[in-house]
């Protein structure tokens, strides 16, 4: 029983990371109907920036905030300088975007490798390094990971629900033509969405790196779990995605420990993706917008 609880809670802690990545994917999907395959690699690259900062003697939380700013600007710049131009090409299609995302994936992966090396690197945690108040179930870092994710999700929720800018971003994602008529700069809202998504990814990266160590391939598995989480929660539903993250975290960890073994955990994520797409494409919490004509 104790071992089971440990696996469950540890899985939920991992789920916090998948939740952030899933929300980042959903944010971009809602606005563009595209899945950013480079989301994880961008997060990994951001984490290297955070590591470089802390190694240069910058205190953890200052490095944390600076990394968020860096990621935000990076995401914004990718949308403004690259994707915006691409969408204006006369023959741009869904596949164009997919190819570009794969390209970004390879670029960030390669850039991180050549700039920072391929060896595993230890990444600091701002939380107490040991067990959580003598708990046998969770480390302080894992508890911190969960809390951090909940706080970030709360901030994102308040931003989208209660601010004018958040409302404008939701409107732009839903109805660009109508948004322009009320004065919303739709292009900038998209770019802002990319910036926020990159920031969310960076939080996930920095939290994950302490647990699994930092290397250029750290986030490839996480992206897969994040995608499974987003689909499970409902890729169109920003509130379902994080819940999907926690579920996938727990599921993968438990199944890895008791059923399929650790080598098949990623295959399990793929299975989740396939099952959701076949049986319930809108996900567990996906809402179909009710429309009366």
């Amino acid at each position: 029983m104790q071992a089971f609880l440990h696996q469950l809670l540890s899985g939920i802690a991992d789920g916090a990371i998948y939740a952030s990545v899933a929300l980042a994917l959903v944010m971009i999907f809602k606005a563009t109907h595209q899945v950013n395959f480079a989301q994880g690699e961008m997060a990994m690259f951001s984490t290297y920036i955070a590591l470089a900062l802390t190694q240069a003697g910058v205190p953890y939380w200052v490095a944390f905030v600076l990394t968020l700013v860096f990621s935000f600007v990076l995401g914004l710049a990718i949308q403004r300088l690259l994707l915006r131009r691409l969408s204006r090409l006369p023959h741009a299609s869904e596949l164009t975007a997919v190819v570009v995302f794969i390209g970004l994936f390879i670029i960030f992966n390669g850039a991180a490798g050549s700039l920072f090396g391929y060896t595993l690197k230890e990444f600091p945690t701002p939380f107490d390094p040991g067990a959580w108040y003598g708990s046998t179930y969770l480390s302080s870092h894992e508890v911190g990971m969960i809390l951090m994710t909940l706080i970030v999700l709360g901030i994102v929720f308040v931003f989208f629900r209660f601010t004018r800018l958040g409302l404008a971003m939701r409107a732009a994602a839903e109805n660009p033509a109508s948004s322009r008529l009320v004065g919303i700069r739709v292009g900038w809202m998209l770019a802002l969405g990319w910036g926020l998504a990159a920031g969310l990814g960076a939080v996930a990266g920095m939290m994950a790196a302490h647990k699994v160590f930092l290397d250029p391939n750290m986030m490839s598995g996480v992206l897969l779990y994040g995608l499974a989480a987003a689909l499970l929660g409902g890729i169109d539903n920003p509130w379902g995605a994080p819940i999907g993250g926690f579920i996938v975290g727990a599921l993968v960890n438990l199944a890895g420990a008791y059923v399929v073994g650790s080598h098949l955990q990623q295959a399990l994520a793929l299975l989740v993706i396939v099952v959701v797409l076949v049986f319930k494409p809108s996900g567990l919490f996906g809402r179909t917008v009710v429309v009366r004509v």
């Binding site: 404008a168 409107a171 839903e174 948004s179 322009r180 009320v182 004065g183 700069r185 009366r292 004509v293």
Partner: protein, 237 residues
């Protein structure tokens, strides 16, 4: 010409397809004007040309004395033009309240809550549905919401693209009655695009008739209605 909105010899095209050819029309300050014509005559394109919405235009478009031909769609609302688009442009998954607040997004003053209350006096049904998802409203309610959303920007000129489309006659009469009140009480100028000529005749002071991208007749509604050729060709009489 010195009206609030003046179009002078305007051409408009989508890519290689020219839709409007030399359209000139005018909406006086406080005036109410109908733009009539059959399907495909270029009515919607005229409104899009004014708002620079995905059409390429040539010629003079002036609003309140300023040339707005190059002004981006996002900035048009700031100048004081509220556009109720074809198909109503409802933000389906957002609440009625959020739809209304979006209309006032570019405003920075403190009167927004007051305006929501005031506009709901025109459309009481919206008041009861404030927190409802806008996509669940009926067609007529969505049309009212679209007009209310445009009013939230406190425009000087309201562009309406077929507000009667797909609605029951009794609802249309209701909406037209409210438009008359808004025009009178708020001195808001209105440019109304309609297919239903007879309805529009009762409402407006000036009519422009479009045919395949050209203005073929204009004048007060009585004059247009009396014109034998116009009646036969466009009013089915």
């Amino acid at each position: 010409m010195s009206g609030l909105l003046v179009l002078e010899d305007v051409d408009a095209s989508y890519g290689a397809t020219t839709v409007l050819r030399g359209v000139s029309l005018e909406v006086a300050d406080g005036g109410m004007v109908a733009l009539l014509g059959a399907n495909g005559a270029g009515k919607t394109t005229t409104l899009r040309a004014i708002c620079n919405m995905g059409v390429k235009t040539r010629g003079g478009i002036r609003f309140a004395g300023k040339c707005i031909g190059r002004t981006s769609t996002e900035d048009i609302v700031r100048l004081g033009i509220g556009h109720v688009p074809e198909g109503r442009g409802t933000f389906m998954s957002l609440s009625v309240d959020e739809n209304l607040r979006l209309g006032a997004l570019r405003r920075r003053d403190a009167g927004i809550a007051g305006d929501i209350a005031r506009i709901c006096d025109y459309f009481p049904v919206l008041r009861d549905r404030m927190d409802q998802q806008a996509g669940t409203l009926s067609g007529g309610e969505q049309q009212m919401l679209a007009i209310a959303r445009a009013l939230m920007s406190r425009p000087r000129l309201l562009l309406l693209d077929e507000p009667s489309f797909g609605l029951a006659p009794v609802l249309v009469q209701d909406i037209f009655r409210i438009l008359r009140v808004i025009n009178k009480e708020e001195r808001m100028s209105i440019l109304l695009v309609e297919q239903n000529a007879r309805l529009a005749f009762d409402l407006v002071g000036q009519v422009f008739l479009l045919e395949t991208g050209r203005v073929v007749a204009s004048g007060p509604p009585q004059q247009i209605a009396a014109d034998e050729t116009v009646r036969r060709a466009y009013l089915g009489q």
